[in-house]
Amino acid sequence: MTKQHTILYLDGVSVAFDGFKAISNLSLTLGRNEMRAIIGPNGAGKTTMMDIITGKTRPDIGDVYFDGVHDLTRLDEADIANLGVGRKFQKPTVFEMHTVEDNIALSLKSPRGVFAALFDLRSAEAQGRIDDILEMVRLSARRGEKAANLSHGQKQWLEIGMLLAQDPKLLLVDEPVAGMTDAETEETGRLLKKIAQTHSVIVVEHDMHFVRELDVKVTCLHEGSVLSEGSLDFVSSDERVIEVYLGR
């Protein structure tokens, strides 16, 4: 894939923390409206890769491009988010003191400037979007409650709802089904597949049933670089993947 045709393009990226190489010569490309599952043992660098894409961590070396043209290594976090990169964190990170509804309202794609926020009243259209999203993540009944009162799985969903509200071009979803019941996990899979019809998505997940349900190309990371890539069947029969990840 040439750079122009990708939504995300990483080439030769490395980053070290106090001499420890968390990401090492990582190259990975994602097509527009593609969904990719990323697997790999703990410490493989999956979360760090997301930190690099969102501008939270700067790579020591390597290219990171969004939509073929935007050099993400030169932009700050808020700019990258506004370009259309949204993220769900590994540890669910919602505003606990806000209501469920306010969490969505805050994430809603809208002008992010100070003056816009001061004089903007919530339009009927925005309210409609909020209602739709709450419906989608099944939190309509709890819209007025503080997010702190939600269960772990519901917080995961609220954060997915926040992602939907942002309506980014690229969604980075870090371990979305951790702490969910089987039914919730299945529901999340369906939701992500629906989102992936119109968005590019990267999902990090350990739950192999869930990854199978997604039915997309899989990349296995190990020690900060790509160990294996292809269909789930191909990757899970790869000797090296079995050795470092599956065969425990």
Partner: protein, 324 residues
């Protein structure tokens, strides 16, 4: 906002606040017939000052230790504008507010680059620089301050020399200031400020330029503190170094914490309490600072959320226990 978006967890606090507002406004209108108007006017100045400060500490999570610069600075600007330039009171007040906002822009610009204790230290250092400027500058009148500031005639109609007219003029400004704070806090902008307070990095990851928001909140807080200081200069008809000194920055922190940060009523209550206490002890031999210090300690130890904050929390808990 639509009816449907009124949130259950907020309604308790809302209902109390509506009742409090009703009682407060009624009391405000009646008070000058029962107590010295000047005493209530002083309370209003400090209550507005504390509310302005709370916009930053309570809703944005930024502890400024330099708010005296805006309060006292505006007092000087207004006093100078009406006394030396002969401005009418309304333009004099606007001069003070604009000056405070400008000071806020400069001090805020440097302070928001750091967090926590460093933020507080930068605001302290810069406000101390402003204090020394006020000591040295000729227009402030040095140790004497600016004395004999005329109150003037509001809009060329209302003679503010009349104590009751002045009182209602101050009350109107006070309510306007509170309304502005309330409006800011309850706008989408206020929601973003509270998000920054709760989790700054998450707000950034949603695409908010947190620095711009902090600076905007800082300038608004400074301007409103300036409004309080400007009015104080007209009420007492002087502006002195006391209002720009660091002790004044400390006092507003104390008032706000005492009443409870992050609520509208808390700082008003805290300021009223401290002013009343100062008034009571002014004639006794007991040193005021020791009394306020002791009460502050007791409050911080027992009521961690401040007095009003504890009352709200207690009502929340009661509501939670009730089977619905």
């Amino acid at each position: 906002m639509a009816e449907a978006t009124v949130q259950p967890s907020k309604t308790t606090a809302n209902r109390i606040e509506i009742v409090l507002i009703g009682l407060g406004v009624a009391a405000l209108l009646a008070l000058p017939f029962f107590v010295y108007p000047i005493f209530v006017m002083k309370m209003m100045c400090f209550a507005l000052f504390a509310c302005a400060f709370n916009l930053l500490l309570g809703y944005t999570g930024l502890l400024s230790f330099g708010h005296a610069a805006f309060f006292g600075g505006a007092a000087y600007f207004t006093a100078h504008a009406v006394k030396v330039w002969g401005f009418p009171p309304e333009i004099g007040i606007l001069t003070g507010v604009a000056g405070a906002a400008l000071l806020g822009l400069v001090i805020g610009f440097f302070a928001i680059r750091r967090q926590g204790i460093y933020f507080a230290m930068i605001t302290l250092a810069l406000s101390q620089m402003f204090f020394f400027f006020c000591v040295q500058a000729s227009f402030t009148g040095g140790e004497d301050g600016i004395q004999g500031v005329p109150r003037g005639t509001f809009l060329g109609v209302f003679d503010l020399q009349n104590e009751h007219t002045m009182y209602y003029f101050v009350a109107a400004n006070f309510l306007l200031g509170l309304f502005i704070v309330w409006r800011i806090v309850n706008s989408p902008f206020g929601l973003i400020l509270r998000s920054i307070r709760e989790n700054e990095s998450r707000a950034i990851s949603l695409g908010y330029s947190v620095q711009n928001y902090k600076l905007a909140a800082f300038v608004m807080s400074a301007a409103l503190a300036g409004l309080a200081g400007a009015i104080k200069a007209l009420v007492f008809q002087f502006a002195t170094l006391t209002d720009v000194a660091w002790q004044m920055s400390g006092e507003v922190i104390l008032m706000t914490l005492l009443g409870g940060i992050g609520t509208m009523a808390g700082p008003i209550f805290g300021a009223g309490f401290v002013v009343a206490l100062q008034n009571m002890l002014a004639t006794s031999d007991f040193p005021v600072t020791i009394a306020t210090g002791l009460i502050f300690m007791v409050c911080v130890l027992i009521f961690r959320r401040g007095i009003v904050g504890e009352i709200y929390a207690w009502l929340e808990r009661r509501r939670g226990e009730k089977p619905e």
